[in-house]
Symmetry: C2
């Protein structure tokens, strides 16, 4: 990652992407307008269209640009790794802009194939982190070999996503731990948990 001085063009482009992400987080995809992006970013509407072919393309790029990848620990403990995984995912996904735009994004994704792919890729990636943790545990023998990994991830991620998106409550570390412990109680070898 060499830090080059950004050109004028790059600065404008970045300002536009930032303003777009902010706006999508605030008012949703549908209510985000090019004129307002121009106001917020200080970049002229004409210039925006020099960089992005349409509003849809811009939104996709802006959302894509603000999805980043959390770091998941590998401590050798299934419980700890899962908590790390879901805490990280939660913090990355649900605090700040990305969290605020998720509902609007998923809604818009129902009708925009490009956004649909983006949201699905995002979801799949989140799940993959958990799947990796689980598969490591299977290898270690901490989980039975025939465990339904897909179901397990859903049992873990579901309550957290539901808490955030539907109930609109904060996903605390306590909740993450409670969810992990409850679900593991079904599968895991008798743990030294408590």
């Amino acid at each position: 990652m060499v830090e080059t001085t950004p050109t004028r063009s790059e600065r404008a482009r970045q300002a536009v992407l930032d303003a777009t992400a902010d706006l999508v987080a605030e008012v949703g995809v549908e209510r985000t307008t090019i004129d307002e992006i121009a106001n917020r970013s200080g970049v002229a509407k004409t210039t925006i269209y020099r960089h992005f072919a349409s509003k849809e393309v811009l939104v996709v790029e802006a959302v894509h640009a603000c999805t980043y990848i959390p770091v998941v620990a590998d401590t050798g403990s299934l419980r700890n790794d899962l908590i790390s995984c879901f805490s990280g995912t939660t913090k990355a996904s649900y605090d700040g802009r990305l969290g605020n735009m998720m509902l609007s994004l998923m809604d818009a994704a129902q009708r925009d194939p490009e956004l649909g792919r983006l949201v699905r890729a995002q979801t799949d990636q989140r799940r993959r982190f958990a799947i990796n943790v689980i598969e490591r545990a299977v290898v270690r023998g901490d989980l039975p070999a025939d465990v339904d990994v897909d179901l397990l991830v859903t049992l873990l991620a579901g309550p957290l996503v539901y808490t955030k998106l539907v109930r609109r409550q904060r996903v605390t570390d306590e909740l993450v731990a409670a969810v992990v412990d409850t679900v593991l109680a079904r599968y895991a070898v008798p743990a030294t948990t408590d």
Copy 2:
């Protein structure tokens, strides 16, 4: 419920509400327009405004009108009641129109207080069914008295909602049973489940 012959006015009103609910389910709250409602319903736009003050009011009423209440069994078995509860809720909520409009509704609810209240009331009602089942089980002694009811409902509802709204997969009876069994494994008295 005496079935009276609907007046002309009532027929128009109902047609409008129906078309609105259809449209919201198809294209979402934001993209639903009065003109299209007029086309679909066969009711003139002028008449729509004679019945409903604004688009927002109409949408709220239309959505409200298509939320109905599932019947939850009371079999005396915690597992069976929970499965009945969540199967019923799932079928009522996530098949058909209501299921298709949930995402758009929750998104719009972030910015429309009236819709927000509606969605919250809907969510709370769904949860209350499960809470009732759980509290009956506590009274029977099938669950410890100090069980965290709120957490328990979240653990049960979360994976199902997540499957439907985020993963966009069908919520099968098998999934409901798997979720219930997994979560109960943590709390319940050793069951005769399998």
